[in-house]
Symmetry: C2
Amino acid sequence: MTVTKPLTDLEIAYNAEMKPISEIARNAHIPEDALEQYGRYKGKIDPAKIPGEPKGKVVLVTATNPTPAGEGKTTVTIGLSDALKQLNQKVMVALREPSLGPVFGIKGGATGGGYAQVLPMEEINLHFNGDFHAITTANNLISAIIDNHIHQGNELNIDPRRIIWKRVLDMNDRALRKVVVGLGGPTQGIPREDGFDITVASEIMAVFCLATSLEDLKERLSNILIGYTYDRKPVFVRDLGIEGALTLILKEAFKPNIVQTIEGTPALIHGGPFANIAHGCNSIIATQTARKLADIVVTEAGFGADLGAEKFMDIKARKGGFHPDAVVIVTTIRALKMHGGVEKSELTKENVSALLKGISNLERHVQTVRNFGIEPIVAVNRFITDTEDEIQALLNWAKTKNVRIARTNVWEEGGKGGIDLAKHVLEVLNEPKQFAPLYDLSDSIEQKITTIVQKVYGGAGVVFADQAKKQLKQIEENGWSNLPICMAKTQYSLSDHPKLLGCPQGFTITVREIIPKLGAGFLVCLTGEIMTMPGLPKAPAALKMDVDEKGNAVGLF
Amino acid sequence: MTVTKPLTDLEIAYNAEMKPISEIARNAHIPEDALEQYGRYKGKIDPAKIPGEPKGKVVLVTATNPTPAGEGKTTVTIGLSDALKQLNQKVMVALREPSLGPVFGIKGGATGGGYAQVLPMEEINLHFNGDFHAITTANNLISAIIDNHIHQGNELNIDPRRIIWKRVLDMNDRALRKVVVGLGGPTQGIPREDGFDITVASEIMAVFCLATSLEDLKERLSNILIGYTYDRKPVFVRDLGIEGALTLILKEAFKPNIVQTIEGTPALIHGGPFANIAHGCNSIIATQTARKLADIVVTEAGFGADLGAEKFMDIKARKGGFHPDAVVIVTTIRALKMHGGVEKSELTKENVSALLKGISNLERHVQTVRNFGIEPIVAVNRFITDTEDEIQALLNWAKTKNVRIARTNVWEEGGKGGIDLAKHVLEVLNEPKQFAPLYDLSDSIEQKITTIVQKVYGGAGVVFADQAKKQLKQIEENGWSNLPICMAKTQYSLSDHPKLLGCPQGFTITVREIIPKLGAGFLVCLTGEIMTMPGLPKAPAALKMDVDEKGNAVGLF
């Protein structure tokens, strides 16, 4: 008997045979002059050259609160689109771009896994077509212009202590979180405190993903609030006069990227904002472009349904003028057992009672989706240690609660492992539904936040810290209350305590700060320490990476 | 009578009809599978897929010491290649990539001008194919890994005060020249002094441009010296164990970029290190790839012949195992008048005596090229204010000194304006020559520097500051003396005083510091304050940039 080592994602990706991107694009009815190739297997498409209206139906893939067990949301998103293709649907998948920084930190990609991957995975996980580099450049041009403006006389009277705009790098680099810049004497600028976020946390990333056109992009960029004057007046990018330059920097990046899944389904991968301090969805321009080209667009939102899906509905869909026609909630037996109190080391053991307890987390998210007027489908993503009793317990719960549920095995089988789920999705797509965002923009800020806490998190109410109260008043005075809310909360719990798994009850959410992001067009509510610049672990993944003699990537995943 | 405004470089570029890059590549006999398109008009070529040996002859274009009057070296380089094409030569032009940072600062591109440009100029001047972003990422991964290593226990015993590796951004941002990083308490890293250079000043840029293969790239990356331990032992990138990851980050960038001139001549544009603290030439891999594909490769080196050309011969050509077969020295009547003492505001007035005085600068560079065993050709790049008397005076000097000289008018006429120069070049290419670098690597460091000062700058000798003497001793003890010298000197003067124009006599050069760049494989000799992070001017060019309703760049140049 020979024991074979299972293939890594990278090996599976390299073994897969890719079609030229021109062929993928042709099959997707993308006009030849709308495709710009970036290498043989990647491209960009010019949305202005895609005829027609965005009419495709949208399938949103979300998940239970993430656990260290892993749920496989992106993998299911890809596998589901491949399954729909196998069922002869005209389908596209629309995903977020991976951030480069974490690639060198902890092993783990953002391009799916096993036989449900997008390709070429190593290029998508590295620089891809340069979009994040363009966003980094645009972000840092604002900073350079701010410091130069102050250095050259500070006509706008900017208070260096009240600059809220930070620099960014697409790198996990904790030493850059808090820095002092402008040292070295009078020719080197004005010393001030500053810090670097990771690029995905840049407001430009959120702006990029919410803009509906190049013109709208410029308008949003001009509205970015960068700080305040000595007499507390807001200062915007338009006061610096560089919204044109920023748009120029971003104009090529703003075209959605096209690649393919292992099974040749066209994939648009574009933008990737954080799902805590931003809204965690791929770009509106990519989703809408996909909706022009395909009858069904499968897309995902970051973290669990309490963060990504809520923001997808209340922020992205509202701005984009569309709504999801079906919502899939991905979970695993393992993840639910963790929500039921099982330690990671004990996950391989059958534990039906913990599972039943952990289902409360899933149940909360089912209710959330129903609150938006959509009947969700639960996808139970297979893991090898799942027992038949555990699965039956979950299926029984679903039956009792009248919840649609499907088992998936896309990591191992690709699209074939998602056929059952795809059939459920097709059924839901043909049902009537009454989608509505959870709150009106004209509701007061307190009302909007309370609605999210009660209808999404299942909490009792909201407490505002003094700082938040002060900022709330300032926001109202400045006339910025009419914006949607972007909650920055831990992804691990429905509450604002990362250790409260399952479905905590009766808790309140404490809003510590409210930050106006006027370019993105939302108010970020900070409910805890939100990490906007990750660090590297003791043994970073970078140590194992290499290039082999054929020029191929090694040790990427 | 209608007065028409002359077209800007950007307008000329947009009016030009480009051929698809696939056609340019086909005409250049690039195998189809070696071309990777990046959009419709840009590509990368995989050197591993280009058959044959590098046999093409190399024409190096250099210049007199730069003045505010402008010489047009890149413009002549491009125009000369177009002229050679018009003369039915199989020619390629190999240029440096422009840095993004200065684009937003002071108006002025690096893609030629008028009818001697490379296209698409706006993309080449912005992100191009992402090479500099990859270099930025690689550079900053080293920094993140260093700070993380110290934070995680500092097994290598790195002294944070003796880290010589700096972070970079491709941005003119003076406030980042001197910073303190790692602030904010024990979870945020170790506080230490640091600074940012502009990306073109990164040693990785020099490494990238001197590597002859991906394998050699990795070897050089591993040799980069990043600092010293508390007990003064050198610490290298290989000690951090990330040369594989760095190579992976750079592997796509390492493929030369292909574009076209306005007249359809294939152009390889790849790499772009500073010509003061680095060697100022495009990549060896691009030059050698071009030499496989074309009979003649026209290339340029940064600043005047005292910096770029000297380094081309003594560093790049030596490492690459080739030599220039002809050298063109570009100058203008205006520039020579400035070297003769005329102020910029007075340049429009005829001044033959100042011209004759300023010719001393040109004469020095002619001698330098002759010292390498090559007979140069002077290209007098036309400017509208040149008078016939001035031109005759210069031609007379050339006749007396037996110097080949040609007039060029490539800005206005493209290749046609470079035909006379091209004929001279073809003549020289067919003559026998005895090229040799100026010094042997086994010479002592003092000897090598003295040779450059005397044979290139025309100076009397070298003075070593105390710091340099100390470093010299350290370098000898570490066994690094056998490397070529990379002089970091002002570009404006043959001496180390930027205001000494023309051909100063009897001066000494003061070497203040000697910095080992062990990845690049040279010793940088600092002779003055060398700016490695530029600042923005009071009214940055960014303020005028925009995108029009067609999505085209506005105000880029």
